[in-house]
Every structure is written in structure tokens, then in C-alpha cells.
């Protein structure tokens, strides 16, 4: 994909290593321990999630993704992206594997922004495992109502931003 992302991440890792080492008191060791633990859990799952999503998306006809999530879909794509994101009841591994696969098959950026935003806000597993037990059903209801419009707003703002960027003569 883009090498800028890779460079950014490597530089940040190097910078944080220096900061953590200069802090002393085991900060670096704790951080690396956490990283190893997380990577060991995530990476094996991610590999197979990406493979599964790659095959799954291949099975959906490309013109279907183009029609409902592609650039022509416009605002409808934003609504469908939001709805699809709402329906992913799992962690980032599956959600981002699906998003990357959609992107590979020609889904438009605003629809993808809506998809990722809707999943981020509503992720049902998180609500059930953490939010309701720790904060109660009433708080959860308030939060969900307050955040309900946000995925569509985020997608629409992206569409607007991209149209504006196109309109500016170079």
C-alpha cells in the first residue's frame, strides 16, 4: 500500500523506544511485554481473518460492491456502510479485515469511513462485555442514542471534503 504509513509507524516506534528507555523504571520492559503479548494474540488471528475476508469478498460480485458501496453510490453508500458497520459484533481483527477487503474491491472512501465509524461506536461485543456490566444499561442507552447519527455524519463530511478537494483547481 503506501510506504508513508510504514515510515510513520517505524519512526514512532523508534521515538517511543528512546522516550521509554530514558524514563527508566522498567517502562520500556513493560511496554515491550505488552506488545509481545498483544502481537502473539492478534497477529495469528489477523492472518487468517484477512485470508477469510479476502475469499469472502471475492464471492460477492464486484459490481454489487461497486453499486452499493462504490463512488456512484454516494450517500446511499454511506447509509449502507453505516448499517454494515453496525452489524459487525467483533473486535478490530474482523472489522478491519472486512474494511480492507471492501477497499480492495472498489468501495468508496466515504462508505468505508462510515463502516469503520459505525463499528467503532457500536461494536456489540464491547457493549455486552464491558459497558453494560461496568456502567449500566441506562448509561449505555444514553451513549448509543447520543452517538447514533455520528457514522452517517462522518461519512457525509468525508464525501464533502473529497468533493471540495476535487473542486479545487490545481
Amino acid at each position: 500500500m503506501d510506504s508513508l504509513g510504514a515510515i510513520l509507524i517505524y519512526l514512532t516506534a523508534a521515538w517511543l523506544t528512546v522516550v521509554a528507555l530514558s524514563r527508566g523504571t522498567g517502562t520500556f520492559r513493560r511496554g515491550i511485554a505488552r506488545a509481545v503479548e498483544q502481537a502473539l494474540t492478534l497477529v495469528p488471528r489477523m492472518i487468517f481473518a484477512l485470508i477469510a475476508a479476502g475469499f469472502m469478498v471475492k464471492l460477492i460480485p464486484t459490481e454489487l460492491i461497486g453499486r452499493y458501496l462504490g463512488a456512484e453510490a454516494g450517500f446511499t453508500g454511506i447509509l449502507i456502510g453505516s448499517l454494515a458497520g453496525l452489524l459487525v459484533p467483533s473486535g478490530p481483527v474482523i472489522a478491519f479485515a472486512i474494511a480492507a477487503a471492501f477497499a480492495n474491491q472498489g468501495a468508496a472512501v466515504p462508505a468505508l469511513v462510515s463502516f469503520v465509524s459505525a463499528w467503532s461506536i457500536f461494536a456489540a461485543h464491547r457493549v455486552v462485555i464491558f459497558e453494560i456490566p461496568l456502567l449500566g444499561a441506562r448509561f449505555t442507552a444514553v451513549r448509543l442514542l447520543s452517538a447514533f447519527p455520528l457514522p452517517v455524519v462522518a461519512g457525509s463530511l468525508s464525501l464533502l471534503a473529497l468533493r471540495l478537494a476535487e473542486a479545487i483547481p490545481r
Binding site: 504509513g5 517511543l16 517502562t27 513493560r30 464471492l59 474494511a99 468505508l112 467503532s120 442514542l145 455520528l150
Partner: protein, 189 residues
């Protein structure tokens, strides 16, 4: 959940058992089933083109994902949890919402870190606008999620755009939350 465990040394055996536990095999099974369906429905040619594309994507992603995990781990270790929650509980009004959104952006870790912090904030007397703004910001804009997931998998352009358009949204959600008339507890009903 695993937040506290990381402080000590490694228990490699339980770590590996967790990494390659049942849910890992569910992912493997899903990939195999999807692969077989793909092969049967679309034929050998589409199957091999999908596998070629998948392996290209994986080789491209893996080094970045590993580096992103190092960043996430170090950010998590450097993050001053107590200072943030004390700061948020002390502020209210518009300023409070903005600080809450900022706190959500910088809070590292998954839901196992963010939700306990939210519960501490609620206990410390932060109003529901602040709570909603904080957790929405963590979910939408959390820098750690951007580094670990958005940038490696979706690219820098996508991540920057998503971050920019989402920046005002947690504050908006906080204002809406202050206007919704569902009592969260007797004190603010």
C-alpha cells in the same frame, strides 16, 4: 483484562495457549471454509488470484502491524492514567467536553483499559456529557487504534481523512447526551 498481567515476566505457555486457543482455530476454519467455497463456486483461477492477492497483502502488512504493536505497547506503558482521570473529573461545561475528547484520543489500549477508566470517571462525578464524549472519542479517534489498525490496513490518506472529519463528533455526542432525558442515576434524573 490482560492489562495488569503484562507488568511481570512472561508466562509463555499460557500466552501461547491463548494465542492459539479456540478462537484462533475459528479464524483458521473460517479461512478454510471460505477458501473451499471460493474454489468450488468461482473455480481454480479465481481461487489462485485471491490467494496471490491475500499473500501479497499479508507480506505488505505484517512488518507494519508488528511495529504498530510495539508503538501501542510503549504508549500504553507511558500513559499517565491517574492524572487523566483526575483532570477530567475536575472539569465540566464546554471545556470539560473538549478535555474529555482529548483524553479519549490519547487513551491507549482496548476496551479492557478504556471502560474501567470510564467507570472510574463516572464514580469520580464526571457528568454524562463528559463520559459520552470521552468514550466516543476513544472509540472513534483513539490514536492507538489509528496506529494499529487504520494506518497499516487502510493507508495514511484514509486515516487522516477519517480522523479529521471525526474530530468534532465526540463533543457533539457529549452535547446530545446532556440533552437526553434518561436518568442515569437518581442524582441527575
Amino acid at each position: 483484562m490482560s492489562d495488569e498481567k503484562a507488568a511481570g515476566g512472561f508466562d509463555w505457555r499460557s500466552l501461547l495457549r491463548q494465542s492459539f486457543g479456540p478462537s484462533f482455530w475459528i479464524f483458521v476454519a473460517a479461512a478454510a471454509v471460505m477458501g473451499v467455497i471460493c474454489y468450488l463456486v468461482l473455480g481454480e483461477k479465481a481461487f489462485s488470484s485471491a490467494t496471490a492477492r491475500d499473500s501479497e497483502l499479508l507480506l505488505d502488512l505484517l512488518p507494519r502491524v508488528v511495529a504498530a504493536q510495539i508503538v501501542a505497547g510503549l504508549v500504553w506503558a507511558l500513559f499517565p492514567r491517574e492524572r487523566i482521570s483526575a483532570l477530567l473529573a475536575r472539569n465540566s461545561g464546554h471545556r470539560g467536553l473538549m478535555l474529555a475528547a482529548l483524553g479519549g484520543i490519547i487513551t491507549p489500549g482496548g476496551p479492557a483499559s478504556a471502560f474501567p477508566l470510564l467507570a472510574i470517571l463516572a464514580g469520580a462525578g464526571a457528568d454524562r456529557g463528559i463520559l459520552v464524549s470521552y468514550i466516543t472519542s476513544w472509540a472513534l479517534l483513539g490514536v492507538q487504534r489509528m496506529i494499529v489498525w487504520d494506518i497499516p490496513l487502510m493507508g495514511v490518506d484514509f486515516s487522516v481523512l477519517r480522523f479529521a472529519v471525526s474530530l468534532p463528533l465526540p463533543i457533539l455526542a457529549g452535547y446530545i447526551a446532556r440533552r437526553i432525558s434518561i436518568g442515569v442515576d437518581p442524582a441527575d434524573a
